[in-house]
Amino acid sequence: MKSRKPSIPYIIWMVVFTMIPIVMIAFTAFTDKDGNFSLEPFTKAFFYTDVFTKSLWIAFISTVICLLLAYPLAYFITKMKKSTQNTVIMLLMIPMWMNFLLRIYAWVTILQQNGPLDKALSILGIHGTYYGNSSAVILGMVYEFLPFMVLPIYTVMSKIDSSLIEAAQDLGSNNFAVFKKVIFPLSIPGVISGITLVFVPSASTFLVAQYLGGTDDIMIGDIIDKIFWTDQNTGSAISLILMVFIFVFLIIMNFFGDEEAIA
């Protein structure tokens, strides 16, 4: 039998930082302020059903837009010269080196009244503020998470053996058939990873909606953030529900993709 000793530090890590917190959250979610068993936190959590649905909806829309933008982009990157490919990937990554909040602020600046966008559009006689609505939130999310969609798709696509493409041509495929019958099916694992990497964090993100959204555009992440200061029990209940949703989502994704697609 293999020695289990080397894995001990990791097991300790998992127990201390994953298992115990989850148990604590679950425990808090099922108790009231005095520590007695109670389903009250869940009843209270249902006040936020609308926010919850909206969060998932925004996350879904953002993921779809990311996918629509990222897939062709990743495909065209793989068609470039190797050196150009590295440069483009680098350019995609560079914004991620900047602080998350700064990037959101940058969008606020761009979208605000008398901001660059407003000024540009004023030439056409249109004036206004372009943040404070759901579209701005989605824009922020897409901007935030696009690289996480592009990178896995690009990685999978660039690993497709060029001889497979030649084989497909050899057997009579034109460019469209090569894409449909070889490149697309082989890129699915990348798409699955990308969707997972974008949907999960965008469903639970906070701050983006606070800065770019209007008063209605509060997301579940923001609710958890706020509510924990006053009511840990309800906060835990909401977190737990979100976790279950994400878990179910991952299982569905796993069903579509290969095991390797979701690490």
Partner: protein, 472 residues
């Protein structure tokens, strides 16, 4: 397979291909006959795969025509050519099972489902993979993947099947087995097979005709027997089977001098006292008593090879290899006889033996006794010899004066090793620089189709003044 009128199915006419300034195919011409098993044989880097890819439509020649069934098909993409390829690493689609891989081409042709099913099932039976339809590609062995790749190409019913070293990844036993199987499939299906390999034995076993290539040119085209028995030059002789390749002099028609002895042969028309290459196959040398031998030598090495003994005999400075069912004692003196018919005479690969440079002195220093000249853009300094500036000199460098530069710099950089032929005493290496070819002797084996730096030893050179340009 000797038929009177053979119809060409594909013709390559004056094909020239260059990648990044490097010539890959240097004006090759090749006619491929209908229903033949043609093998393109050569060392790696000789241009054989490129030739195949031109027929497949994956490479466009810079100049020259590809004629298919009488029509020029340059520029026709691979999917519009009735040619299918079995790729080197099979290139099976990992997301499809065996059935869908084989059916790939038929589905693109939009055949009815039941027809596809019928054809695929029949083809899988032909390649011995009945019942493997639903298998995952990754779960198949190398030999099975190989057969799926062949089935996938064959099922499309192409005029030509291209095979790019398809057996390279298999172990020896499986490879031998697949060689016979491939030949059988070819005969059963009556398709034209164009097969690329660097394995000479494979080429001889399977082919109707063999094309031997080296350094972007075709050296010889012929039946396996022709190629083996009548190689056109030392390169082919060395590449195909084992051979004693010796330097000789054609004294007159049917008279050849090798190893200081004059022997009778059957070749004519080489002129008088012409330096030639001579090939004698090891199995064509008969061992006799020393007094009966045309050549006499001392046995140096003896290896039992199962069917025969491999005997290495020293004959003067040369080493001669004999395959014989008779054994011989190490250290004993034996005689050797070769019948005239088995002495194969060939023109030398290069028209010269000594490397001659005719040049002009660009700089000279009488005090320090040296001069310099330009060679292919490099300045070469010759120590211990002085000629005034602008003198035209002829420098004769015998092959011994050339060596691969151990320091990696040398006088000339990046020479292409075109061929390495063992001449019983040394390897004769032909190198190609930007402007010309060079002949070099070496005792080490060099890898053909690689690039090396070359150094000259001018102490072994002869110098001759042709002309003095300087007045006064």
């Amino acid at each position: 397979m000797e038929q009177a009128a053979k119809k060409s199915i594909v013709s390559l006419k004056d094909i020239f291909v260059r990648f990044d300034g490097e010539v890959i195919l240097n004006h090759i011409n090749l006619d491929i006959h209908e229903k033949e098993f043609l093998t393109i044989l050569g060392p790696s880097g000789c241009g054989k795969t490129t030739t195949l890819r031109i027929i497949g439509g994956f490479v466009e020649p810079e100049s020259g025509d590809v004629i298919f069934d009488g029509k020029r098909i340059n520029g026709t993409p691979p999917n519009k050519r009735n040619v299918n390829t079995v790729f080197q690493r099979y290139s099976l689609f990992p997301h499809l099972n065996v059935y869908d891989n084989v059916a790939f081409g038929l589905k693109l042709k939009k055949l009815p489902k039941n027809e596809i099913k019928e054809k695929v099932t029949k083809m899988l039976a032909t390649v011995d993979l009945k019942g493997y339809e639903k298998r995952n590609i990754a779960k198949l062995s190398g030999g099975q993947q190989q057969r799926v790749a062949i089935a996938r190409a064959l099922v499309c019913d192409p005029d030509i099947i291209l095979l790019d070293e398809p057996l390279g990844a298999l172990d020896l036993k499986l490879r031998k087995c697949m060689q016979l199987e491939l030949k059988e499939i070819q005969q059963k299906t009556e398709k034209t097979f164009i097969y690329v390999t660097h394995d000479q034995e494979e080429a001889l076993t399977m082919s109707d005709r063999v094309v031997v290539m080296n350094n972007g040119v075709i050296e010889q085209i012929g039946t396996p027997e022709d190629i083996y028995n009548e190689p056109v030059n030392a390169f082919v002789a060395d590449f195909i089977g084992e051979a004693n390749i010796l330097n000789g002099t054609m004294i007159d028609d049917c008279r050849i001098s090798i190893l200081g002895k004059e022997l009778e042969c059957v070749d004519k028309g080489f002129g008088k006292n012409t330096p030639v290459d001579v090939v004698i196959r090891p199995e064509d040398i008969e061992i006799t008593a020393p007094k009966d031998g045309q050549l006499v030598g001392t046995v140096e090495k003896l290896t039992f090879k199962g069917v025969h003994y491999e005997i290495s005999v020293r004959c003067g400075k040369c080493e001669i290899l004999i395959h014989s069912t008779k054994s011989a004692e190490i250290g004993s003196v034996i005689g050797m006889r070769i019948i005239p018919f088995n002495i194969q005479i060939m023109n030398k690969l290069l028209p010269f033996y000594d490397n001659v440079i005719e040049t002009c002195v660009t700089y000279a220093n009488e005090e320090e006794n040296y001069f310099e000249f330009e060679l292919e853009g490099e300045t070469v300094k010759v120590d211990g010899k002085y000629f005034p500036q602008d003198t035209k000199v002829k420098i004769t460098l015998p092959p011994e004066a050339l060596s691969l530069a151990g320091d990696g710099i040398g006088h000339l950089k990046d020479l292409y090793i075109e061929s390495v032929v063992y001449k019983g005493e040394h390897n004769e290496i032909i190198l190609e620089s930007d402007d010309r070819k060079w002949l070099m002797l070496s005792d080490t084996d060099e890898q053909v189709a690689t690039y090396v730096p070359l150094a000259f030893d001018f102490s072994k050179a002869k110098f001759e003044v042709i002309d003095t340009l300087k007045e006064g």
